[in-house]
Each structure stands twice: as C-alpha cells, then as structure tokens.
Amino acid sequence: MADITNQSLNEIIENIKTKKVSSTDLTKAYIKNIESAKKLNAFVTTTFDQALDKAKQFDNKPNFNQLLPGIPLAVKDLFCTENTKTTAGSNILNNFIPSYESTVTKNLWNNGSFLLGKLNCDEFAMGSSNETSHYGNVINPVGDQLVPGGSSGGSSSALAADLTPATIGTDTGGSIRQPASFTGTVGLKPTYGLCSRWGIVAFASSLDQAGPMTKTIKDCAIMLESMSGFDEKDSTSINKKKEQYSKNLKDNIKGLKIGIPKEYRVDNMPKEVDELWEKGKKILKDLGAQLIDISLPHTKYALPTYYIVAPAEASSNLARYDGVRYGYRSKQGKDLIEMYEKTRSEGFGDEVKRRILIGTYVLSSGYYDAYYLKAQKVRQLIKKDFDDSFTKIDAILTPSTPSSAFKIGEKTNDPVSMYLNDIFTVPVNLAGLPALSMPAGVDKQGYPLGLQLIGKALDEQKILNIGYAFEKNCGFKNEIKKWWS
C-alpha cells in the first residue's frame, strides 16, 4: 500500500474499516515518520510502546463502529494525560505526571483512538510562534527556519509533516487557527463551552477552548464530534445534545449570507492576503452564497482588551505553581516566600513572567477599574458588534492571519509585533464564538495562507459546511517536501 500517513483521517479510517491496514501497521508507520522528524522538534514526549500495545489490542478485538477506530493520535502537551508527563511547554512542569485524564482526551480514547505522544507548544500556550517553549523551537515543515505558529505549534507541525493523522490544540486568542494557517491545515476553535476544559492546563479560563486540527474539513468534523460534549466537571460546559457533525456535513451553501467586515482590512497587510480574501469571496459567491458588507466597529480594540483580560486570568491561574504540591521547586530560598519567588523565577520563562506581571498589575489595588473593568466593558462592545451582525448574516469570512509564517527570531524582540499576529483571531475568543481556519492558497514565497469563517454560537455545523464547500472548490493542495528526514 502507498504511504498511508499522507492520507486524510477519513481515508485512514476507511482503510482500517475495510482491513486494508491494521492499527498496528498504521501506528508503526507514524512511529517511523516521527523518528525521522526529530529536526522539527514537534514532540516533547512519545508513548510508542503504549501506543503499540493499544494498537495490538484493537487489532485483536476490533470495534469498527467507533468514530476513531484504532487511530493513533498525538495531542498538544497542554492536555493532562494519566501517567504520561504533561509539561505545558514549561520548565515548572518538567516532572509533572498527572494522575487523571482530561475530559477531551478521554473522549477521544473512548471513541477508539489512543495516545501516540505529546506535542510541543508555547509555554502555557502563551505565544504565537512556539518560541516560548522550554523544550525548544518547533520547525514548520513548510520550510526550514520557519515558525509553525503558536501556541499549538507542535500540533500544526506534526500534522502537516504526517506525524499524526489529526490532532487537537487549544485556542485562547488564535492558538489553533494561526498555526493551522501557517501550515496549510484546518483548525477549528469551537464555541466557548462546547469542549470541556477539565484537565487542560489553564491559561485564561474565560477564553480557553480546545479544538481539532486536521488535514481536511471532513476530518475536522469527525474530530469535533469525538472530543466535544457536556461535562459536569467543567462549570462552563454547555449541556446540549451531541451533534453528528461528520454525518451532517453538506456542501450546499446556496442562499447563505456571508458577512465581509470592513475592519479586517488592516494597514500594511500584504497584497496576497487581500487577494486571497477576494478569491475566497468569489468562490463562495459562485457557490450561491450572498456576500454582505458588515461593520464590526470595535475590532481594533480587541487585541488591547485581550492583553488585559488574558494576562489577568493567567496571573490568577498560574498562582498555583508554587513549588509545594507538584512541579519544579527551586533548591534556593531560605524561607517559604523566597522559595516561592525563586521557584517561579526559575520555573517560568520570560513571556510567561511578562504576562503574569501585566495581569498582577491590572488587577492590583487602584488599577482594577482603569484596566480590568474597562476591558470587560469593551469586551461587551466587541460581543455586541458580532451579535448585531449575526441578526442579518449566517457567517463571516476574514483572513486568518495578517501574514504567512515568519522566520524564527524575527519577532522575539518586540512583544507587541508578535501579539499583532492574532489581530484577526482574538475577537472571536472575546465573543465566545466558533471559528474555522481553512487553507486557501500560498503567498509569493509559496507559504500557506488561511481564511477564517466565524459562526454564531453553537453554529459549528454551518461553518463546517461552508468550509466543506469551499475546500472542494478552492483547489488548495499542501505541497510539503519532506526535507527533514
């Protein structure tokens, strides 16, 4: 059989079901790929022996009626996995072995898949290039020295390099969609509350959402169906009937109204991004959708709002890392306070420290109203922009990112220029909406670029359908040469 690892998840599942490939052979093929891709540094931990055991168990007693029968999956190292080290890309968790499994990964395993390894990411998911990880930079398979995006950079790199048939990431301000865009893959941030946050290392609890990263829209539907669902252990989990996203996938989008927000045309945006957006509009129009100009007037305030809300929540969430109950503890420190201070200073990297300090400051006495309360008010305005628009449209089409993948080191000296990467993705998190990034073309250097579809809350099926129709008519093919092996 031809190389199975460059097939889509859906095709692989078909091959498993028709017994053209066994779970064991499939798993071995991925292990071989992973071992020859060390240069990409996509993995923090591999669990090959355990995966081969699970594959063998599946082959001995296969259940083909599951959504993910006998499928090995690598996941972002932000999901706690029982008895497998979980680092969140941080030195402060370099020895942390959870005694529990996150709900989202548990859902994946209950659907027939098993763990292949843990994927590198920005430290505590704080970054847009995977350069803040304690475990080193991840390389984008699109080109040597290119960043894979972040924070789910190990996930996007491993997926695009055929090191896992599909994967999951988390998205607080664009951490699924931006790396998907940088690697020519599909990434979905679901509605806030659709996927349980239980067992995911917390960054900013009112924004964090887990979601699928895949090669195709169909794969994305399969993964979303597998991982989502109500969970009592997450107080913000939405209790609703489970949807069959993959079965209900349709490519007829005739008559749908697609909003085009004028505020997403920003200064200094490369011409190619604009052209790609035009191309996307034309494809959807030719498929019978109606394009409607809309305005989301507070878009430019989304990033400044995010850089108050997210660090404020992060500073609270990361207070738990004190060197007492788990994780790294400094050998220095004469007394308790000094032990805390040294542990946190040695355990956290620069970007995480910056954000904890911003968060601590904006919540500190005398500054709360000026920053945090102000940000919550602007967040209301941003949400209202979307609410108003969605009374007259079905979905919104925008570029996913203002540029294609950049070089390692290009933006590390200027935090604000790094933050600007998320200019098109952050508003969606603030409003709690679902959004899909789908590959749409390449720039003049041949680097992939994505377009983003934003939906109403819980309208994942509709944006998947639009993406499905788009994918069939876009003609994008991810041409990645395996230069690293």
């Binding site: 942390f96 850089y307 109950r325 420290k353």
Partner: protein
C-alpha cells in the same frame, strides 16, 4: 502613564517572582510598550456600558454539596517535590 523600575519590582513581589536587577531594565521597556498598546482603550467612552462577566447565555449550574471522591492521598502527593509520608513539606515557617 508609565511603569518605572520600582513599580515593576513591587508588582513582581506581589506576583511572587524574583526579578534580577539586570532583567528589570528590559522588563520595564517591554511592559511599557505593551501598556502603551493597551491604553488605546482610553479612546473609547464606556461610561454607559455594562461589563461583560460571562460569555455564556446560561448561568452557572449549582450542584449538591456532597463528597464525590476522596481517599486519593497517594495520588495527590505523588507529584510533590518534597514528600514526608502524609504531608507536603515546605521550608520552616515557625521557629
């Protein structure tokens, strides 16, 4: 407004992160550029806007106040950096 080195040292103290004097300089520069960016929000008049406290259209669920798990002391202590049978151990606090 701008953050000076003293302010940053104070915030670092609140956050329980020790910061070397050598690092304070670059932190001051970075944080000031971030706050300059953040302060764009002051262009907006938000006097009549209600702050957004929940993104969900549902209120938080309540549950029965009862014990649902327990007897997992070993699991809880498993990852502690310094263990002494049944307790977490920290540097001496009381003389």
């Amino acid at each position: 407004m701008s953050l000076d080195k003293e302010k940053i040292k104070h915030v670092a103290k609140l956050a329980r992160i020790s910061v070397d004097d050598a690092k304070v300089e670059s932190l001051t520069k970075d944080l000031n550029s971030i706050f300059k960016f953040i302060e764009q929000l002051n262009e907006l008049n938000t006097d009549k806007v209600e702050p957004l406290t929940s993104i969900l259209n549902q209120s938080l669920r309540s549950r029965k106040d009862e014990i649902s798990d327990g007897k997992i002391r070993e699991k809880v202590l498993k990852n502690s950096p310094k263990e002494n049978e049944e307790f977490f151990v920290v540097p001496k606090v009381v003389e």
